[in-house]
């Protein structure tokens, strides 16, 4: 704990010098954001997004619909990872924002707005509503915080299913999309889902590289220590909770658009949180790659086991328990720990300076992870 804290202090000092990381004054180390050239991982990311954007032309609507569900799951899991993996806030009530996002789309569509235009508005509504909710649930910590978020989701479900204009408990069909060819609806929804996923991951990447990201890492490693060196703990957590709610709300809006129907018992179901949690446990806490890898593994298993009914949640839950106990950093943690590699460079790498001022081939770090202050470090 103390060693980690020392690293944070080192990281904070480094951060304060970020504008001129390679200046002669920075001593014996050179600081970079990435080990590989960041250009290559950016190029790779752009290529992947481009290929994914082309998918509706290359496959049939059935496959596209499956990919929509994957992108929704990916967005939700990444947002849960931002909350739990970075801010240490374990929520089992993120379905509150899935539901709020879905119902925002329903209300706006009932008033004549296009459901697609309603998706970003749903994100904003969820972000705004997250503030009063955070005021309530932040009064409790740890496990009690987790259950309090669940109560809030339950309250929202019970209240909304009493509103007859929203279809009561039986749900309501989403208006506004009936005059479009179903194949095109699927394609548009897919592009919207891709856009939301890219925006959510991009937002997460930028937040983690900002001062907030640095503060988050400090809080996660030692909350008291972080606040003693001037990190505003409550404010930082609230920012993350709000951003995560907005992203989850956008995913919930996509759930409404992709199902063309909104029902309280379904959109406020705790299974959404179970999916997010299992994805992140499998993929790995505290990394963007973890959410992506976890979503791929989880989704493949879900598809493979879909014919066995409730069995797939038994299998996935058991896998998650086993991984949480024996590989707590998840699959990506195991991979990046061995290969010293990451796509999304949110931490810092310290390189020893040789006399010539050139970095050595291997980064200097006693821990062997290569990152003196990487956001992935536990």
């Amino acid at each position: 704990m103390t060693a980690t804290f020392g690293r944070i202090l080192a990281g904070m000092r480094i951060a304060s010098r970020l504008p001129r990381p390679t200046s002669p004054g920075s001593g014996a180390v050179r600081v970079t954001r990435s080990r590989l050239s960041a250009r290559w991982s950016r190029l790779f990311a752009v290529a992947v997004v481009a290929v994914m954007a082309y998918m509706p032309y290359a496959t049939d609507p059935g496959t596209t619909a499956v990919l929509i569900n994957f992108l929704i799951l990916l967005t939700m899991a990444a947002m849960w990872n931002l909350l739990a993996g970075y801010a240490g806030l374990i929520s089992v009530g993120q379905q509150a924002f899935v539901g709020l996002g879905a119902y925002t789309v329903l209300v706006l569509a009932q008033n004549g707005l296009s459901p697609f235009a309603a998706i970003p508005l749903a994100a904003i509504v969820c972000g705004v509503l997250a503030l009063p909710i955070s005021w309530l649930v932040f009064r409790l910590r740890g496990g009690y915080f987790a259950i309090a978020t669940w109560v809030v989701a339950d309250v929202l479900e019970l209240v909304i299913s009493r509103v007859p204009q929203l279809g009561g408990g039986t749900g309501a069909a989403l208006p506004g999309l009936f005059d479009i060819d179903p194949a095109w609806i699927t394609a548009y929804t897919y592009w919207a889902a891709l856009l939301v996923a890219v925006a959510a991951l991009g937002m997460m990447y930028l937040v983690l590289r900002s001062r907030v990201g640095l503060a988050l890492t400090a809080i996660r490693d030692n909350e008291v220590g972080a606040s003693s060196v001037g990190v505003r703990v409550g404010r930082t957590k609230r920012i993350v909770y709000t951003l995560s709610a907005a992203g989850t709300g956008a995913a919930g809006a996509l759930v409404a658009v992709s199902q063309l129907n909104v029902q309280a018992a379904s959109v406020f179901n705790v299974h959404w949180s179970a999916y997010m949690i299992f994805v992140v446990i499998i993929g790995g806490f505290g990394s963007i790659e973890g959410a992506i890898l976890g979503a791929i593994v989880f989704f493949s298993l879900q598809q493979a086991l879909s014919q066995y009914g409730a069995w797939y949640l038994i299998v996935l839950g058991t896998i998650a328990i086993v991984i949480a106990l024996w590989q707590p950093r998840g699959l990506w943690g195991a991979i990046s720990g061995r290969l010293h590699f990451s796509f999304f460079n949110t931490g810092y790498w310290l390189w020893p300076r040789t006399d010539a001022g050139e970095p050595e081939a291997t980064p200097a770090d006693a821990g062997g992870t290569g990152a003196a202050f990487a956001a992935e470090s536990k």
Partner: protein
């Protein structure tokens, strides 16, 4: 509206919630962790009785449903005690070694696995535990005011369990060990109490209360594979309303929650759960330490 019956009903329901919350409270007080599978484990106790009753009914040939059910109760509680100890020493202890966050996540995973395993094995049908005519018999207090024996029996069970736990923690050597380990694990270890064993005992006691509460719930209302989360939320609300870390606070919290649900349900049967939740949120907003928070020395 029949006010006396609503108030008495709420009070008795509160005893049930307090009984259920005591296990949650005990685990949190000892180990600082929350078991998100608390509700689902209570549901398992109910299903275990349903599985056992046919065997017991057959072996005691003459026994009617109620006797077999009571026999099953007598078996299920010790089974849960043993499972609690073993589960604590194996699964929960290894997740505790990883940190409170892992314990929370493992218990959530367990909750999902249990719920779906029950769904696969027993379908989504709801059940209730058969105690014969006892369930319907009641005491008539005055004209139009009668109280079900079952509610009274559950409330008395709750009080006995809570008083028993309190006495155990306050006056016995085991209770002193549990409190010592809760206060300072390393120091307790230094003076010769094995904290893993003490955690095991606390886990066993908590599981026994889970079984008792699950059986009480199962006779009081019908249950299905998905009932666990709602039960967990009620127990949690009772703990927070009463004040973290105090058993008497938990009883008071349970009663406040029970009354809130009872009044809500009297206005509109579908409002019961919601009004309980709203009272909980109001307490969280205006008195987050609860009504009877534990003193620093408790």
């Amino acid at each position: 509206m029949n006010w006396p019956e609503i108030v008495i009903g709420g009070l008795l329901l509160g005893g049930l919630y307090a009984l259920f919350a005591s296990g949650l409270s005990l685990l949190f007080g000892t180990m600082g962790v929350i078991n998100l599978a608390h509700g689902d484990l209570a549901v398992v106790a109910g299903y275990l009785v349903i599985v056992l009753v046919p065997f017991l009914g057959a072996s005691t040939a003459y026994a009617p449903g109620a006797t077999a059910t009571l026999l099953a109760f007598a078996l299920v509680i010790p089974i849960f005690f043993v499972v609690g100890y073993v589960g604590q020493r194996t699964l929960i202890q290894s997740s505790l070694d990883r940190g409170p966050m892992t314990t929370l996540l493992v218990s959530f995973g367990l909750a999902v696995v249990i719920e779906n395993a029950l769904l696969v094995n027993f379908s989504a049908d709801s059940h209730s535990l058969d105690l014969g005519s006892f369930v319907y018999s009641s005491i008539r207090l005055s004209d139009g005011v009668s109280v079900g024996w079952l509610g009274v029996a559950i409330f008395l069970t709750a009080v006995v369990v809570l008083v028993g736990l309190q006495l155990l923690l306050s006056y016995t050597a085991l209770g002193r060990q549990i409190r010592a380990v809760a206060d300072d694990r390393e120091a307790a270890q230094l003076v010769g109490s094995d904290y893993r064993h003490v955690f095991g005992i606390a886990g066993a006691l908590a599981m026994a209360t889970v079984a008792i509460a699950g059986l009480a719930f199962g006779t009081y209302s019908s249950f299905g594979p998905a009932s666990g989360p709602a039960w967990l939320l009620f127990a949690f609300e009772a703990v927070v309303i009463g004040g973290l870390g105090s058993l008497w606070g938990t009883l008071l919290g349970g009663i406040v929650l029970g009354l809130a649900q009872s009044f809500g349900a009297a206005v509109d049967p579908s409002l019961g759960v919601l009004s309980g939740h709203l009272v909980f949120l109001a307490v969280l907003a205006f008195r987050p330490q609860g009504f009877l928070p534990a003193r620093a020395t408790a």
